[in-house]
């Protein structure tokens, strides 16, 4: 039995990578491959893939007993991501390739039977973990090289075939590094805000939502531009900084939703699941270790729920915890994972089931009408700061009444956000929506004269304590948008106007 050969790869647990050391010994028994270290069924199948790929790469497969040990042995390992590492481990153990270049190299990739390298998901979080663990190089399938190159300080190489990897390990050739990142243009064009006709109230609400990170509910008849407006919020939001963009790219990579060409998008995500989506699709789910769902894919962006009264109440209420905590914790058989989920919720609803263009034509019975919007539970609505009634569209031509374009509104939003960041940066909050209520009621308490309207609503029992906090946050956002240092009575009035329960 020869000395064990060591190669390294990375397992994926949630959105975190876990470095895995693969030891290989060859010899000492009847021929066969034994994979130890909690491999699941898909990893057991790697034996057959690896053997075929090695043979088709023109290398001899050792006719001996091969033991491959994956460490840490207590972590359940799954998937095809270890194929390349297993192949290199076997050949290094027989001395067919030298192990020098494999030391400190994270190997990732699935093998086709003919020796081609196939992409795997979650490369970005895996390589971030590899770098943390002190690895200096990575060899990945070429299809995910652009993603791998996002990790600074790690020499990422891309390969097409197992032969290339083996020749590289032997020092006979070099593998390509990623080209310069494609920064020209940030993906698809963002829809333009001036396309939306009329709806001054809703536009204003959209601007406030974007400036303060507030949740928004739009109620109105179909065809008045609720969905159009919601899609346009992305153009108003600030670009993600590098760490946020990396975090989002890692979530997308784990979900298998990262594009090949320009993986690092700085555009805030916009996720609009259909109302038939399950709780698992919303929050994340799946057997073994849960995969991220819509709330995590919308991290630092917008989760848009159209026709929200048609969503099952359980699905909507399941959003309450991530809304408060900014993350989801999912427990499955193989452990609990946390995914970040700090998203902005945008809801859209018709006022009633019949939903005529003009509301007075409604033919629904009063109780039907009431029940329709009552499907949105009180606790969920309480978390929505801005509620706005859409007005019927009365203009046809866009020429005379064209509203402000995205660039103008965005400039105001960014200025307001900058003011908020300056105020809260010492405490680490990024926008008004993240500031705890206790702070607003103590250090940043407004004078009683300004809060008079709020106090009146509280006394009348029309507003919960959390509702009051939320109204104060909106008031701060309005002040930021107006360029004022502190909100005045008018800002508090406007905040209460947008909170008006009459809209819902």
């Amino acid at each position: 039995m020869g000395p064990p050969a060591r190669v390294w790869s990375v397992a994926l647990h949630g959105v975190d990578g876990v470095p895995v050391e693969i030891e290989t010994v060859v010899g000492g028994g009847i021929p066969g491959v034994h994979l130890v270290g909690l491999p699941d069924a898909s990893l057991q199948e790697a034996k057959d893939r690896v053997r075929s790929a090695v043979v088709h790469s023109g290398r001899a497969w050792p006719n001996q007993r091969i033991v491959l040990a994956l460490s840490p042995a207590t972590l359940r390992k799954t998937g095809s991501r270890f194929d390349v590492a297993l192949a290199c481990g076997v050949l290094a153990a027989t001395g067919a390739i030298p192990a020098d270049r494999l030391r400190g190299t994270a190997l990732l990739g699935e093998l086709a039977l003919d020796g081609r390298l196939r992409p795997v998901r979650g490369v970005l979080p895996c390589l971030l973990a590899a770098r943390e663990a002190g690895m200096v190089r990575a060899v990945v399938p070429r299809a995910v090289l652009a993603e791998a190159a996002l990790v600074d300080g790690l020499d990422a190489r891309g390969a097409d075939r197992l032969t290339d990897v083996l020749e590289w390990a032997a020092g006979e050739r070099e593998l390509d590094r990623a080209g310069p990142p494609d920064t020209a243009g940030h993906g698809p064009a963002v829809p333009e805000l001036s396309d939306v006709l009329g709806q001054d109230d809703a536009r204003r609400a959209l601007e406030i939502a974007a400036a303060g990170g507030h949740h928004l509910l739009m109620v109105g008849p179909p065809g008045t531009g609720k969905t159009m407006l919601a899609q346009r919020i992305v153009g108003l939001l600030p670009e993600l900084d590098r760490s946020e963009a990396l975090q989002l790219a890692a979530i997308r990579s784990v979900a298998g939703r990262l594009g090949d060409s320009a993986p690092l998008s700085v555009l805030a995500p916009f996720v609009a699941p259909h109302h038939s989506a399950s709780i698992a699709a919303l929050l994340g789910g799946g057997s073994g270790v849960a995969r991220p769902g819509a709330v995590s894919l919308a991290h630092r962006g917008v989760l848009f729920l159209d026709e929200c009264p048609h969503w099952p109440a359980t699905a909507l209420d399941s959003l309450r915890t991530p809304l408060e905590e900014g993350e989801v914790r999912l427990s499955r058989a193989d452990g609990t994972v946390r995914y970040p989920a700090r998203f902005q919720l945008v809801l859209a609803a018709n006022p009633c089931p019949c939903a005529p263009p003009v509301d007075r034509d409604c033919r629904c019975r009063p109780d039907v009408r009431r029940r329709y919007l009552a499907r949105l539970s009180g606790p969920l609505l309480d978390r929505v700061d801005l509620r706005v009634q859409m007005s019927p569209v009365t203009v046809l031509a866009a020429a005379d009444e064209r509203g402000e374009d995205t660039a103008t509104v965005r400039a105001r939003v960014l200025a307001a956000r900058a003011a908020a960041v300056e105020r809260w940066s010492a405490d680490g909050w990024r926008c008004n929506a993240e500031v705890p209520g206790t702070v607003l009621r103590s250090r940043f308490l407004l004078p009683p004269a300004v809060l008079a309207a709020l106090q009146a609503r509280l006394d009348a029992g029309e507003l919960s304590a959390r509702g009051a906090d939320r109204a104060m946050r909106v008031a701060w956002t309005l002040a930021d948008l107006a360029g004022a240092a502190r909100p005045g009575p008018a800002d508090v009035d406007a905040a209460l106007y947008f909170r008006d329960r009459g809209a819902a």
Binding site: G29, I30, P31, G32, N63
Partner: protein
């Protein structure tokens, strides 16, 4: 006798001869049969201390894999059971047992090659 049985027979002859010549073993049984199946070779080692149960796999080529690979987990279980039967049938209450595999490759032309895996399972 079918061609494959003929091949197996020749492989077992080669293996038995090899074990006696190279390892000084004494063959106790060849093709010992009972209801559950057949043991190819049962022998004792040089020191007459161990019972060596030996499975012989013979192939004429590697197109369908190495001979020794054909000893599957199912076959291993069956051989272990057969070894118990053999010991009971020979009134051998207690003895140390070792299970070997001998893989014999017998190409139609050219010399036979033999690989011995002592204590294979």
């Amino acid at each position: 006798m079918a061609a494959k049985d003929e091949l197996g027979r020749r492989g077992e002859d080669t293996a038995a001869e090899y074990l006696q010549r190279e390892h000084g073993m004494v063959v106790l049984s060849r093709n010992w049969r009972c209801r559950a199946g057949e043991l190819d070779i049962v022998a004792t080692d040089r020191d007459r201390r161990l019972v060596v149960v030996c499975e012989v796999k013979t192939r004429s080529g590697t197109r369908f894999g190495e001979p020794a690979e054909a000893v599957t987990a199912y076959k291993v279980r069956r051989i272990r059971g057969l070894a118990r039967e053999w010991m009971a049938a020979h009134r051998l209450p207690w003895a140390e047992v070792r299970f070997d595999v001998v893989a014999v490759l017998m190409p139609p032309r050219g010399p036979a090659t033999l690989v011995h895996y002592p204590a294979a399972f």
